[in-house]
Symmetry: C2
Subunit: 187 residues, 2 copies
Amino acid sequence: MCSAYSERWGVCVWFTGLSGAGKSVTARALTELLNKRGREVTLLDGDVVRAHLSKGLGFSKVDRDANILRIGFVASEVVRHGGIAVCAAISPYRATRGEALRMVGADRFVEVFVNTPLGVCEQRDVKGLYSMARRGEIKNFTGINDPYEPPMNPSIELETEVLSIEENAQRIMEYLEGQGFVCAAAS
Amino acid sequence: MCSAYSERWGVCVWFTGLSGAGKSVTARALTELLNKRGREVTLLDGDVVRAHLSKGLGFSKVDRDANILRIGFVASEVVRHGGIAVCAAISPYRATRGEALRMVGADRFVEVFVNTPLGVCEQRDVKGLYSMARRGEIKNFTGINDPYEPPMNPSIELETEVLSIEENAQRIMEYLEGQGFVCAAAS
């Protein structure tokens, strides 16, 4: 199933979920696992994207969509060259995630739903954004005053309350191995 | 010199020159030649970049620099995965081109100076932009009321008055073959 040939196929691992759900930390843990297997990864999470692609974009629907399509464009180019793109943005709208999938190609797109409930994300409130949104200091905040549309049929669904970051990253690795995108570690 | 191994090294071909110099047409001709050799290419010229990366950016120095660094970021990721990035933006400022070179890596960066004189570009005026700039309808237009800093030491310098688009694209192919980035066509 897995060979040097299939390893030259690219793949896009697309995380979606609420702010604070654990997308970025899981994406970074996955990137480390892939690097340990000798695979190059383009990580496109909030920090990277703000620095390199989307400075100046805000949180309106138009700007959010522009941001997601920009990430989708870069991911599709990486995948076309046989690389691995790991994308971690809230990407709240189903239709826009569908656009990203179409850009990359459905057979190269792995959708990972980080299904941490709103209550848990809000309680963690790592960046203090939920309390700002509740006080009305942030408009269009996903889950509070802007919708989050969960995936209908994600490739993988993660529950971050039950499993650790490392366990979740490992689950994705096993999925990628099962699909032949990554060769299993030599035993 | 050339092998399947070296072909897995990526490379960035970075065109620079005035508006109307012939960057984009030459970049597209080069892309076709590379595709004919079975190589995947990410083409980042004005049209692609405006559509996918930089909608909303203008022509101030800050916006121009943001645009160039965004192209540099995508090119560097493509090259890291062993792909070929062909970039064609005016990229008027030497320091910003230097930033792009640093992002990609100097040993993977081929700078192509499309050295068509201002007078010739202005006479062609394919998009009517020079006459608009002369009438003061466009601010910060490179060559008219914004500087163009030519490369000090480009990898390749093209003169579009003497050679055709195809001949220039062929010259770049020969350079890429000579450097081992592309295997010579089987004879």
